[in-house]
């Protein structure tokens, strides 16, 4: 019996001699200061989205900020972050809610739930904002102050990226999800009436949209994820609602995305494997990148509001933390730091 007891004790010890999981002990400062948020999508249906903040003061990245501040996960597939006053609105796509946090501390303030598949927010004023949707054929309207739903603007197509020019909102129709019509339009919404008033046909999968200093609209189309059409960049005159210029990409099998513009509104940036930069007055697409991919899989792009540097994120292998790189406008790497899983959106809090 002694040997029996000995074996029993050895097995019990082996079964319990394991390390215990501790949370990341790093405590973020109470006031975040100036910098940019990195929204880490996380893996679909894993609920491991997270929020990082890069402090320009300390030149350090604070990861898992939302969890550390609020003792709760951010949700499932974080999509975008938008700012209104001192607040940041985080759209969590597959959890179908919007969390509002203090843009200077990261503390949770309120939420809007029961959405379908939200993507981006376009603020109209303190009492009204639009939410685009990957599945819904329309825009969801809500009050960003009270978080009360105000209804839906029916568009007949799914909605994605938005810009506002005067009192009109231009919305791209990127997703073909559950759509019978082609996903190749920019739709125009009258923000006073909350009504669809017109649409412009561009190329397939218009994924991003910006407005320049001359109030011209720029739309980037990938051509379809199965390379159905030649990808193209469009310049649209919003007053005439017509296409002024089309820039075709030379290779069908390319997938340009992430069109951004600097705060001055005269320099465009986009991803097409490498990072390209062009002035709004250029007649042709740039042939030489400003930053080469060099084996990285860039997924998000942002330009510092004061044009100081370009920020790029690399999702890596999608099952471990991705990276964030800062490059000078000359394309020279400044520094790099780890973010969360699939860093997919970058937003400045100043």
């Amino acid at each position: 019996m002694k040997r029996f007891t000995f074996y029993l004790l050895v097995l019990i010890w082996l079964g319990t001699a394991c390390t215990k999981l501790d949370n990341d002990p790093t405590v973020p400062p109470d006031f975040l200061g100036n910098g940019f948020f990195v929204l880490n999508q996380g893996n679909f249906t894993s609920g491991n989205a997270s929020l990082s903040f890069f402090s320009e003061d300390s030149v350090k990245m604070i990861n898992n900020l939302f969890y550390k501040r609020n003792n709760a996960p951010l949700g499932d597939v974080a999509q975008s972050i938008s700012f209104w006053g001192d607040e940041a609105f985080i759209v969590v796509n597959n959890s179908a809610y919007i969390y509002v946090i203090d843009a200077h501390t990261g503390h949770f303030k309120r939420k809007l739930t029961e959405l379908n598949s939200p993507r981006f927010i376009q603020f109209i004023d303190t009492d009204k904002a639009y939410i685009s949707d990957f599945q819904l054929k329309g825009l969801f309207v809500f009050n960003p102050t009270t978080m009360q739903p105000l209804g839906i603007i029916e568009t007949g197509k799914t909605t994605e990226a938005m810009v506002r020019v005067d009192n009109e909102v231009f919305v791209t129709n990127w997703s073909a999800y559950n759509n019978k019509s082609t996903n190749s339009t920019v739709q125009i919404i009258n923000a006073n009436l909350d009504q669809l008033i017109d649409s412009i046909v561009v190329a397939k999968e218009p994924n991003s949209i910006v407005v320049d200093k001359n109030k011209k609209i720029w739309v980037l189309c990938s051509g379809g994820f199965m390379n159905d059409e030649i990808p193209a960049l469009f310049r649209i005159d919003p007053s005439g609602r017509n296409i002024e210029k089309r820039y075709n990409f030379p290779v069908l099998e390319s997938s340009p995305e992430q069109l951004h513009i600097n705060r001055a509104g005269d320099e465009l940036y986009y991803l097409n494997g490498d990072v390209f930069n062009m002035h709004i007055d250029e007649d042709q697409l740039p042939a030489t990148p400003v930053v080469r991919a060099s084996g990285r899989n860039y997924s998000a792009l942002a330009v510092h509001p004061d044009d100081q540097y370009i920020i790029l994120s690399d999702a890596g292998n999608y099952v471990q933390n991705g990276w964030v790189y800062r490059f000078g406008r000359d394309g020279i790497l400044i520094d790099s730091t780890q973010a969360g899983i699939i860093p997919g959106y970058i937003g400045f809090n100043h």
Partner: protein, 650 residues
């Protein structure tokens, strides 16, 4: 193709020729059914095959195979929750690398290569075995091992009836009926079951702000099934027919972070399968020959629909994906004793998989021709040597030659000490999803290849009042061309042969029995230490080399104590699941790993003449845990079962 197929066919003809010369001397066949009810350390396993005791199968009749394996073996069950998907893996591999055989025929779905063990009732199984290491290399793809679920014929038992009714927490119901009639030549047996549950258990949801107690939503299921068997023995031969049909309907619950979605999401999966096996086996004193034909059909329907609370949208999203999978296989198995010690076993099989899927651009098909050979040597001193190989031809392509060798013996001068060594090579063909999924399927994928070695040592102690058998094992597997789905620049994922995975570990098994007076105690423990890492150059670039792969616990253990006294039986089970990585990150954070947890379960059974009653109490200490990230799991719950058994011969 022609060359390889001709080669395999030639060997098949040789097999038939050999059979004719070997099957000369006939004698009367004695087919006997032996039921082993182990409540002591009387160990029926060999060093590489674990057989689940009949006593354990008996107390688990109203459970699923997922529960059975989770609590009584080293198999790791990746459980998405009661009624949801549960897959099995062991020895540091994935569910795709665990081959599941039903009466010798693989039941892994051709499209994803997996089996959902929450859909398989223990009630339909008479024997469950797990083969590890070289013993599992006789089947392509069984890198981790084989799970063998068998039905057994029983003759001369007259009319038998077994009825069970179970009631449990969360409006769970289970009805089971088993009818059997047999004389000395024929057995007919029909088993039917129906289980259902609302699964609306309460749990603490820490995802919302603030955390709150919630009820599980949309997790109800209804499973129904029938298993028909027919066995006819005549002289030295037996004809058997097995026909297994199931209808499984379930709603799919959202994860804990996604409970506030709008649009009244309706998400469900309805699966049906029909599996039929016809076999004819003849025995001679020194040989046997078996013909077997199998036809399986499986239908998987996934449905997702959302609406909107606003506007005139009846449907916002709608997905109706359907998979129609067919599999048929014909095989001939031959065994011949050669001299006093040697036995030759050969098997030749042809199979075809076809699949229609919403996610394939057309009907897909895979044909396989396979040959298996095994020579075994066994002498009266207990030396056992097995040398074998299988060579497969898939769609005209000769697959990797897969040999194995296994040797076991007692240590000279210490007959209570036994050891076994094994080495094997094996391959695993890509699943049809890997090849043809739209978009992303990669038809240039190669088969994964494994080189495995293992060593086991067993010590037995037998005293008058107690017996102990303890087995310790070490193994190592090097799996090259491991298939991994990777993102592309086009925002969809593509599978590639990129990883080189090194899986190694240690296993410990204990069986002990002790009796005094009318009390019989038994203890069974299983422990697995598993290290599985990606050692490929890409992992080095990603800085993930040497990190434990996702959802493979480094430590996994369970222990079962049983006490029998007259007509009473008491069982207590402890299951320990170690920390599981949910990402390949180095630093520990809630999002990157799931903490270890220990669950306690107990059961009490009392038998009368024709009746028995049992009470199962699961998760006794109401442990709050997650097996998969953000998948809700139930706290303390119970099930009561009443059984009636009738046997016309007794």
């Amino acid at each position: 193709m022609k060359c390889s197929s001709s080669l395999l066919f030639s060997v098949f003809l040789l097999q038939i020729t050999f059979l004719r010369s070997g099957a000369q001397s006939l004698d009367t066949l004695q087919l006997q059914q032996v039921e082993v009810v182990a409540s002591s350390a009387q160990d029926t396993d060999n060093l590489s095959v674990q057989k689940i005791d009949q006593a354990i199968l008996k107390v688990n009749k109203i459970n699923t195979i997922a529960n059975l394996l989770q609590q009584n073996s080293i198999v790791f069950i990746k459980d998405y929750g009661p009624g949801s998907l549960a897959t099995a893996s062991f020895r540091g591999t994935t569910a795709n690398h665990t081959q599941v055989l039903w009466n010798g025929v693989p039941v892994n779905a051709p499209n994803n290569g997996q089996v959902d063990f929450n859909r398989l009732p223990v009630f339909f199984v008479d024997e469950a075995q797990l083969a590890r290491g070289a013993q599992s290399a006789s089947q392509q793809g069984g890198f981790g091992g084989l799970i063998m679920l068998n039905n057994q014929s029983v003759f001369n038992e007259g009319f038998q009836l077994d009825l069970k009714q179970a009631v449990g927490s969360f409006n769970s119901l289970g009805s089971y009926a088993d009818f059997s009639w047999s004389n000395n030549k024929v057995q007919l047996r029909t088993r039917i079951f129906r289980t259902s549950s609302e699964n609306d258990f309460e749990y603490l949801n820490t995802a919302p702000i603030p955390a709150k107690i919630m009820k599980q939503q949309q997790a109800d299921f209804v499973d129904k099934g029938v298993l028909q068997e027919f066995h006819w023995q005549k002289g030295q031969s037996i004809l058997s027919f097995y026909s297994w049909h199931q209808w499984n309907d379930r709603n799919l619950p959202p994860i804990m972070t996604n409970l506030e979605r709008g649009g009244n999401p309706e998400e469900r999966q309805d699966d049906r399968f029909h599996r039929n096996i016809l076999s004819y086996k003849s025995y001679w004193p020194r040989a046997s020959l078996e013909f077997k034909a199998a036809w399986f059909a499986e239908y998987q329907n996934y449905f997702l629909r959302t609406t909107s609370n606003y506007g005139g949208y009846e449907t916002v999203s709608l997905i109706e994906s359907k998979n129609n999978l067919q599999f048929w296989q014909q095989e001939i198995n031959f065994s011949q004793e050669l001299g006093s010690y040697w036995t030759l076993e050969t098997s030749t099989l042809i199979s075809r998989q076809t699949a229609f899927s919403t996610y394939f651009d057309s009907k897909k098909q895979r044909d396989q021709l396979a040959l298996r050979l095994k020579m075994s040597y066994q002498d009266e001193k207990g030396h056992l040597l097995e040398l074998g190989a299988h060579q497969d031809d898939t769609d005209g392509q000769l697959m990797a030659f897969s040999p194995f060798a296994h040797f076991s013996a007692s240590i000279p001068g210490a007959d209570r000490w036994h050891y076994a060594v094994g080495i094997s090579k094996n391959y695993h063909a890509p699943s049809l999803n890997d090849l043809y999924w739209y978009p992303g399927g990669n038809q240039n994928l190669m088969a994964e290849k494994a080189l495995q070695a293992d060593f086991s040592l067993r010590h037995e102690i037998r005293q008058e009042r107690y017996q102990i058998a303890i087995t310790a094992g070490l193994y190592a597997s090097r799996i090259s061309d491991w298939i991994q789905w990777r993102p592309t620049a086009y925002r969809y994922w593509v599978p590639e042969n990129i990883s080189m995975v090194f899986a190694r570990g240690a296993e410990l098994f204990l069986k002990a029995g002790f009796s005094h007076g009318k009390f019989r105690h038994s203890l069974q423990m299983n422990y697995a230490f598993t290290r599985t890492t990606d050692e490929s150059p890409l992992a080095q670039i990603d800085n993930t080399q040497g990190r434990q792969l996702i959802y493979i616990p480094m430590h996994h253990a369970n222990a079962l104590y049983q006490l029998n006294f007259n007509d009473w039986q008491f069982s207590y089970t402890v299951v320990y699941t170690g920390k599981r990585n949910t990402s390949l990150n180095e630093n520990e954070f809630y999002g990157f790993a799931l903490p270890a947890y220990t669950l306690h379960h107990g059961s009490l059974m009392k038998s009368w003449k024709h009746f028995s009653a049992s009470l199962q109490l699961n998760n006794i200490f109401n442990k709050d845990y997650q097996a998969i990230r953000w998948r809700a799991m139930p706290g303390r719950n119970f099930a009561i079962a009443l059984s009636y058994h009738f046997n016309s011969n007794h």
